[in-house]
Symmetry: C2
Subunit: 194 residues, 2 copies
């Protein structure tokens, strides 16, 4: 994807990772189709040629952005879990972070991308599935650590991820915060952590 060594020539005057972050932000706020090349070049401060040299196309950029977001999200949750010695405390922290109660009209980037593009972009659908699976596995592992038997832990993990994505839709529809608090409490209750 990126050259490791270059024998000569003018060096890049921008940080590709920063530009990727800026682009992700636009996709996150506006969605894929509604984001134009002009939006992207403005947000990243790149000329069209630099943009295409760096990212190939709008579609490839989206896939990059998705991977970056999903990886960061997973890493954050894993770090949050590892922060706490006590499994119950870790689990409570993770569930609270997942079933967020703060209104956010951007929602969850993964949910946005899956909903908009999964049917027409099998590659992205696959990334989405992988992300969901990875998150479920993380939760399942945490849950089994408190003595819950594997099959039950699996069902609970899947349910928590479903609540996570559902609450992202709620937040995007600006459902009132109290309702989201109910949902979060029920999610914790599911694990006897209420």
């Amino acid at each position: 994807m990126s050259k490791i060594v270059s024998r000569a020539g003018r060096p890049r005057s921008f940080d590709q990772q920063v530009a990727l972050g800026d682009a992700l932000d636009v996709f996150w706020r506006k969605g894929y189709e509604a984001t134009s090349l002009d939006d992207l070049t403005e947000a990243t401060q790149l000329s069209r040629s630099s943009f295409y040299a760096a990212f190939g196309s709008k579609r490839e950029l989206l896939l990059h952005a998705y991977r970056r977001y999903a990886d960061a999200f997973y890493a954050d949750m894993k770090a949050l879990a590892d922060e706490h010695e006590d499994t119950d405390v870790a689990l409570r922290a993770v569930v609270r972070a997942l079933v967020d109660t703060r209104p956010d009209d951007r929602g969850c980037f993964c949910v946005n991308a899956i909903v908009e593009l999964a049917p027409s972009e099998p590659e992205l659908a696959e990334l989405g599935r992988a992300h969901i699976q990875r998150m479920c596995a993380l939760l399942e592992e945490l849950i089994t650590q408190r003595g819950t038997r594997r099959p039950v832990a699996r069902a609970q993990a899947a349910t928590l991820m479903t609540l996570t994505m559902g609450s992202a839709v709620f937040r995007k529809a600006s459902v009132d915060e109290d309702t989201l608090k109910f949902v979060q409490k029920q999610a914790l209750g599911l694990l006897d952590l209420a």
Copy 2:
């Protein structure tokens, strides 16, 4: 919106309701931005002029389609609930229908529309919120009928709707059916109906 009487002139050669249904189907499959006027005129078999005469604009048509879908969805669920004398049986049927386990890459039209358009279309966001609220109220009413106290019923209803929308995202990402069955079972378990 539609003329009740016309004093004369050439009559319409198409059924507006049928055309609306056809258009809904396209929006449902492809999303709003990705649906072109050509897609819509092809699906409805209308010429551009008939299309604009009947629906005003692409945006207005979407709002019509959304209302129609949401109303039909609510009516279906209400009918399903009324079908059964026993509240537990009714509740079980409704939850099974909501937290569907059949893969469907179109997902739920309401979820699709909210996720794609809520931030840029406040009017649609409002319709989305109203739909969620109405569905929650229906569930809440059913749950209180089995003796559950109001605040608990409200929390459970909100949770069920969250699971409904989350599972729509799962289905769109083609998450395996077994996982969706787990989620459905947990949803029923939440109400001690497992």
